[in-house]
């Protein structure tokens, strides 16, 4: 009897978030209005062309491509938390898998749009597919990101099937919504055969998504590393990007955890222990990334080859020095030091650190993309100053913010449609602990 009570409480606790309350409507309206403003800016870009941006012949990859790399990077977290931690038996991460998958899906889905925003003639997008050459990393990137998006969607959907059944039964929603939940739950009856099938397919995805996720960010790094330009011509760019991706993704999950926990009152399910553990995870991935940063700049900075030296000086003590050192210190070194203290691995300090790391991660991509573009091998001569030094415009900034709002919208909507912490898995865990007690 007591057990049933707890099970009912868990179900109602975790289903509680699925309803349209005022705070949701206000938040949604705010995001919608902000998105409209940003899309208006994009409309201006479509109408007048790329001239409304700070991009030009020399810096043709500015904020948009930095943004793209950031989005692909952050989407990698689904693989780390759901697949790697899951396969290695880290049970504590189970309640976070759905948050990680929603973040992964949202960022991967929008990443493609970010690329379209960088195109002066987006109506020619189809040409990538019609005239694409499989020798080009750009086509590989389009391919792997599409694959990752599909796999991430399935990785979100398949473990969700039992919960969809619970939704169709327990939720107080109009009949047609119940029907949709029912259809999506694929006649789930909780039989041992069905459970086995779900388990098997989840395992197959968890294994398959690891190489796919490694591929998406390695290929994204090849967009840079496969061109022989200073700062990009590096053999470690693949792992350098992948480890950097784990840093920004973990930070995104921490931020999401904080808000879901607080707004949906999930303190019993996303506990301080989870923050403690994911804080340690962030330290781990940040240390690995710091190591790659050290290696990347140490090798180039020691040799100081003619053209490389110009870029290194620009980063270390020139135009981009403030940004470069801020990113390294506030986005990487300081968070690592802070998170070593147990007191810092509590929800609120972690939220602040998470935001710091995420902002740092965005500017880190900027630091990788823009300074290299400003220093081509052939010196830039006889052109106006604003061609040499990239300065983003207001319209460009608004267009850059648009995909961020879209990600928030997708996360908000998905979190309103499905329970953000897996119900059936939590119930199962409850059963196993009960059995263990006996």
């Amino acid at each position: 009897m007591a057990k049933n009570n707890t099970a009912d409480k868990i179900t109602s606790d975790l289903l509680r978030s699925i309803r349209l309350n005022w705070s949701f409507k206000i938040w949604f309206a705010f995001l919608g209005a902000a998105l409209l403003v940003c899309l208006g800016a994009y409309g201006l870009q479509l109408k007048n062309g790329m001239v409304v941006t700070g991009l030009g012949d020399y810096v043709s990859w500015g904020m948009y491509i930095s943004n793209f790399v950031f989005f692909v990077a952050t989407s990698l977290i689904g693989m780390l938390i759901s697949a790697v931690l899951g396969l290695s038996g880290q049970k504590w991460a189970a309640p976070l898998t759905r948050i990680a998958e929603i973040i992964a899906l949202a960022f991967a889905a929008v990443a493609g749009l970010v690329i379209v925003m960088d195109m002066g003639r987006p109506e020619r997008l189809l040409n990538v597919f019609i005239h694409g050459r499989i020798q080009s990393p750009i086509l590989w990137d389009v391919t792997v990101i599409t694959i990752y998006m599909v796999i991430s969607a399935l990785f979100l959907y398949i473990p969700l099937i039992p919960d969809l059944k619970i939704c169709s039964e327990k939720l107080d929603v109009p009949p047609f919504v119940k029907n949709i939940y029912k259809i999506l739950s694929l006649n789930w009856a909780g039989t041992s055969e069905q459970k086995k099938l779900i388990e098997q397919s989840t395992r197959v995805i968890a294994i398959f998504i690891i190489p796919v996720a490694l591929a998406i960010h390695t290929v994204t790094s090849w967009l840079f590393a496969n061109t022989s330009r200073v700062g990009w011509d590096s053999t470690i760019f693949g792992p350098y990007f992948v480890t950097g991706a784990f840093v920004s993704g973990t930070a995104a999950v921490i931020i999401a955890m904080y808000f879901f926990r607080k707004n949906y009152k999930l303190e019993d399910y996303i506990t301080e222990k989870h923050f403690d553990m994911i804080g340690k995870l962030l330290v781990l991935v940040s240390l690995v990334y710091l190591y790659f940063n050290l290696n990347e700049y140490m090798v180039a900075g020691y040799k100081m080859k003619e053209f490389e030296a110009i870029l290194i000086r620009d980063l270390f003590s020139g135009n981009h020095a403030v940004l470069f050192w801020s990113v390294q210190l506030f986005g990487l070194v300081l968070p690592i030091i802070l998170l070593l203290f147990k007191k810092m691995r509590k929800p609120l300090p972690m939220l602040v650190i998470g935001i710091m790391v995420l902002i740092g991660a965005w500017f880190k991509r900027f630091i990788i993309v823009v300074p290299t573009m400003e220093h081509p091998y052939l010196p830039i001569q006889n052109v106006p100053m604003n061609w040499k030094i990239y300065t983003p415009t207001l319209i460009e900034t608004l267009v850059t913010i648009a995909p961020m709002i879209m990600v928030l919208l997708i996360i908000t909507v998905l979190a309103k449609l499905v329970p953000i912490v897996p119900i059936s898995e939590t119930l199962e865990q409850l059963e196993t602990t009960e059995e263990n007690k006996k």
Binding site: R133, W188, A189, Q194, L197, S201, F208, N382
Partner: protein, 300 residues
């Protein structure tokens, strides 16, 4: 004291101003070249054709006439060609500037034909309402009378160019005419030696390099350019089998990274297809599993 300083100041200002204008106009155009006129009538049609040539060759530095958008980062700043200073020059002077070039102004001698150069000048003049053209009496059809023949002497490795005109009164040799020899290459023309002056028989001799690559059979296209006082601008091409036979496979013949899709390297095709096929296999497996889940639930 005051007035003296003031005088010096004025003198300094005036002299600086003079030096500047002197520097800008000091093209030292010879009198005969200065008096040269166009045989093409400057009308709307020629100005329109000139505009196209101008936009391709001149606008990147000089900007659009009258718009003041010339490239200000250059030194000296290229003048706006609708300006009074430019319009005060004669057609001959403008033509001379186009031919010779100076400092950062390149020579268009071998880039634009005489006809094209006059058309550009016609376009520049279209911005001057007070301009009245002095038309040259030169008949461009006279160029058709000229015949250029080229021959190669394998012993001396020399190309002999012979220029004659078939006048009604008989064959006339073009003497004392500056003549240039080129070989056509992928991207434009390669000049062979320096310009030569034809002798009294209308002939000039060029030393031809021994190591110049030709096509499979060693054939190259030789181009002769000359501009004669009486016959105008003449360009004539002849193919001769005098270069080193060269057969190099084209860079796009074999499968390569930089080639078109149909000529992609096999290893890329295999790796890419393997990746996509693996995805399709996993996707099919998952869809089938989902279908099994649905069917197994329906039985109950």
């Amino acid at each position: 004291m005051y007035t003296r300083n003031f005088r010096i100041l004025i003198l300094a200002v005036v002299s600086v101003f003079l030096m500047q204008s002197f520097a800008q106009n000091n093209w030292n155009v010879p009198a005969d070249k200065k008096a040269k006129n166009s045989y093409i009538k400057f009308d709307a049609a020629s100005a329109r054709q000139g505009e196209a040539i101008y936009n391709k060759n001149c606008a990147s530095c000089h900007g659009n006439p009258g718009k003041g958008n010339s490239l200000k980062s250059l030194k000296p700043i290229p003048p706006d060609l609708s300006s009074k200073g430019t319009q005060a020059l004669t057609d001959g002077e403008l033509s001379y500037i186009l031919i010779t070039g100076r400092m950062i102004m390149p020579s268009f001698k071998n880039v634009l034909s005489e006809e094209d150069r006059w058309k550009v000048i016609s376009y520049i003049r279209s911005f001057n309402k007070n301009y009245v053209q002095l038309l040259s009496k030169f008949d461009p059809n006279k160029a058709k009378l000229v015949k250029v023949s080229m021959s190669y002497d394998p012993k001396t490795k020399q190309v002999k160019v012979d220029v004659k005109a078939n006048e009604k009164s008989g064959v006339v040799s073009l003497k004392n005419t500056e003549i240039a020899l080129f070989v056509s290459r992928y991207f434009g023309k390669l000049q062979i030696e320096k310009n030569q002056i034809t002798n009294t028989d209308g002939q000039a001799v060029f030393n031809f390099p021994k190591d110049l690559p030709g096509d499979k059979t060693g054939t190259v296209e030789l181009v002769v350019k000359l501009n004669d006082e009486n016959y105008g601008e003449i360009e004539s091409a002849t193919k001769l089998k005098i270069a080193v036979p060269t057969e190099k496979p084209g860079l796009t013949d074999d499968r390569a990274i930089w080639n078109v899709l149909a000529k992609a390297p096999f290893w890329i095709i295999i790796l890419y297809s393997a990746g996509v096929l693996a995805f399709i296999a996993v996707l099919l497996y998952l869809v089938m599993t989902l279908n099994k889940i649905r069917k197994s639930g329906a039985k109950k």
